[in-house]
Amino acid sequence: MKVSIFITCLSDTFYPRTGIAMVKVLEHLGCEVDFPQAQTCCGQPMYNNGFHDESRELAKRMIQVFENSDHVVTPSGSCAAMVRDYYPELFHGDHAWEHDARKFADKTYEFIEYLVKVLKVDLTQLGAKWKGKATYHYSCHLRGIGITNEAEQIIRQIDGLEYVPLEKSEQCCGFGGTFAMKYPDISGTMVRDKVACIAATGAQTVISNDAGCTMNISGSCRREGAGVAFKSLAEIIAESLGLMERHDDYLHPAGQKPRTAIAGCGPIKT
């Protein structure tokens, strides 16, 4: 299988290890991986903020860069959603581009989605082993592309990984691109809520597949003093298959609970 990877701008600069893990896993599964160097950003920040002319230019660029690819795989639900949900809409009425945008949208997959739906991976067959207690953050943009529990399915296939589901897992962490900067107080309250839920699981590792969410939640965990490490699912898989050395980067001494009690927004028992 020939796979072109779309390494989003955040992954490229902030979370390169996610991209590396993704390449290693795909190659391990027999895919022929290529990385079109001319790619930049999908234009989501511009699009979400209403700068549609600017984002159309970036979209055209992406469509051309991946013109000859069979499958495009990205480690970010949010960028996959941009391509899948909004590219065709951006070119609504412009037939030639709309057609190309749809073609691009149809061949673009989020990494986990690709593993589950296209490669139909079963990690138990591959002997995946990983030791530790982990929880998983469901990022909102997976909703847009129709992913529900695929990541959990994969996580549960890893031997030795003790998986603890997160409370209020469907609730946004408050990143939302520029939302976190435009409304820092709302976003701050939202992410502290998430930190409280993470702390309640007692997990040492948080699996988060969107670089934006990871920046936001890990930033808050660090500020609040929570002792957890953050990893993408690609990294966990690569580590569990022995393709990558394990790297646990605890934000604070492992297992430390957040210093501050988070008023009014802890997990609610019902």
């Binding site: 290890r17 991209g19 984002s55 500020r223 609610i268």
Partner: protein, 539 residues
């Protein structure tokens, strides 16, 4: 307003709104819960009377520092959200999305042919004996109502919950001509005592607790202090019963209007709506023109969706259908029935691009599921309609320039779209409004410039790389300064530093949380080596 002024549509084809088989369950009623705590707030003015343009930051700041408000709103919305999901899955199973699709299609179809259905409704309501009025603006709507009140010599009016009358600020107007008006929905009754305003479209006093209620009762009704919900209810009930007996006018809203019968439908859980609309001599129903549905058959679908999405009930306890005033052979019901059809910005919103917003059946599901609403409550939206639907509808009804912040007060997480029983694509509209703000230059020029420059650097892989590289070194230099950068020798693709007090655009980020720096090396650098490795292995 006159139905003739509506955009003309082709005659409707009812076949695109066919009905699916309904649900088969019958689950229990979930009553409204009252929280605990002690918020003291007596308002001099209605919290929803704001000066325009409305800037939400002061209220946002207040709400995000109000732990109790967050606790109340959080637990109430979470439990309703869970109830919605559970009951919708139980009832509709795999058909849930098809049900939402159908609900949306019914509403959309009606809106697409609103001129047709409105005329049909008016004809049928008039034939049943109701007097139908059209009001284009708030003043017109209130004016019509005051005229009716004057003509019938009303002294006391009982009113059931209606968001449109909140939109009209009707009560002070009635009071000003000497008509005492009593809110009879328990939540609204308490808010009226406390001079407060609703902060949720279904659970108006979601932001208040039992203690605040007890205080308001002691202060305003001079009863003995009690926090016992049963006793509080009894006090309200005794008082309201007398009001129903004495009232000469009743006011209600309308959840639905049925075109082919001329019927106004209201859905309540307390029975107060029924008393308001049948005990007094004169009834006035205020309804937005978007509330139309073609027929009873279509109503069935929407009633099932409404109650489940709003409170997790299979059906609201009282569904009251009113077709004209009392007939000669009937025992009760009003002698006069007036229906005021309200525009107030709706016709403008009916244009094709934004029409979908008017599908809203005011179930509140999007508020309950919205993480932003959970943190700031309803009053922060500065308008009657709060939460995600308020964030798109208010700027449409009241002018985008008047509510510049609302389209941005969302992380675009999409939970609202997923919850909406009539499938309004709220995130899409939020983005559309942001786009319109740029077009209309409501967005300030420095912001416009930043995005344009940002987009320009991304249009070329060289400037993109340069930008990434600069960002990395700026961040890492700062982190080196604060000593948080990883030790030499650790993984160059993973070790990072942290900023707690960054300057520039990241400043507001680091006010609330730390900011990670990029690691020393980027993915692209790794890829170059990986390629070399592969080539040398092949060679």
């Amino acid at each position: 307003m006159n139905p003739a002024s509506l955009p003309k549509s082709p005659p409707p084809e009812p076949k695109d709104v066919h009905v699916l088989p309904g649900p088969t369950d019958g689950s229990a009623f979930t009553g409204a819960a009252m929280g605990q705590g002690n918020i003291t707030e007596i308002h001099d003015t209605n919290p929803l009377d704001v000066t325009l343009p409305y800037h939400m930051q002061p209220r946002v700041e207040k709400a995000t520092h109000d732990a109790q408000l967050q606790q109340f709103v959080n637990s109430a919305t979470l439990s309703k959200d869970r109830a919605r999901k559970r009951i919708c899955l139980e009832a509709f199973g795999d058909n849930y999305n098809r049900m939402r699709e159908l609900g949306g299609r019914i509403k959309q179809h009606t809106l697409d042919h609103l001129d047709y259905y409105l005329e049909q409704f008016v004809t049928n309501a008039a034939a049943a004996g109701a007097k139908v009025h059209f009001a284009e603006t708030t003043d017109e709507a209130n004016g019509i109502c005051l005229d009716i009140a004057r003509k019938c010599g009303a002294k006391l009016c009982v009113k059931s919950k209606s968001m449109v009358t909140e939109e009209m600020h009707l009560l002070p107007k009635l009071e000003s001509i000497g008509v005492e008006t009593v809110e009879t929905d328990l939540g609204e009754f308490i808010l009226q005592l406390d001079k407060d305003a609703p902060s949720h479209i279904v659970q108006p006093m979601i932001h208040k607790d039992r203690a605040a209620t007890a205080r308001a009762f002691t202060r305003e009704l001079h009863v003995e202090y009690t926090e016992d919900p049963g006793k509080l209810c009894q006090i309200a009930r005794n008082l309201l019963r007398n009001k129903y007996r004495q009232a000469d006018m009743g006011i209600c809203g309308g959840n639905f209007l049925i075109a082919d019968t001329g019927t106004v439908v209201i859905c309540t859980n307390e029975g107060n709506g029924r008393l308001c609309t049948s005990a007094p001599r004169v009834l006035v129903a205020f309804v937005g023109i978007e509330k139309l549905v073609p027929s009873l058959e279509h109503l069935g679908v929407l009633l099932k969706l409404l109650a489940r999405s709003a409170t997790g009930q299979p059906l609201t306890v009282y569904n009251h259908f009113m077709t004209g005033p009392r007939r000669p052979d009937e025992h009760d019901g009003p002698e006069e029935m007036h229906i005021i059809l309200v525009d107030n910005g709706r016709v403008k919103t009916l244009k094709e691009e934004t029409r979908e917003m008017l599908r809203c059946i005011r179930c509140g599901a999007c508020l309950n599921t919205c993480p932003v609403y959970r943190k700031i409550g309803g009053h922060a939206y500065g308008s009657v309609y709060s939460g995600p639907i308020g964030a798109i509808l208010t700027p449409m009804l009241k002018g985008l320039g008047n509510y510049p912040d609302l389209p941005h007060a969302s992380s675009l997480c999409g939970a609202c779209y997923e919850a909406c029983p009539v499938k309004i694509n709220i995130p899409k509209f939020l983005i559309q409004l942001r786009r319109d703000q740029i077009k209309q230059k409501i967005t300030r020029w420095p912001d416009r410039l930043i995005y344009r420059v940002w987009a320009a650097t991304l249009r070329n892989s060289l400037t993109y790389r340069l930008g990434g590289w600069m960002q990395k070194w700026m961040f890492r230099l700062q982190a080196r300064g604060n000593g948080s950068l990883g030790r030499a020798g650790s993984d160059p693709y993973a070790s990072r530093g942290w900023l707690s007090d960054a300057p520039g655009p990241v400043k507001s980020w680091t006010r609330e949380r730390d900011m990670p720096t990029p690691p020393a090396r980027s993915f692209r650098q790794w890829w170059d080596e990986h390629e070399k490795d592969k080539k040398s292995k092949e060679a």
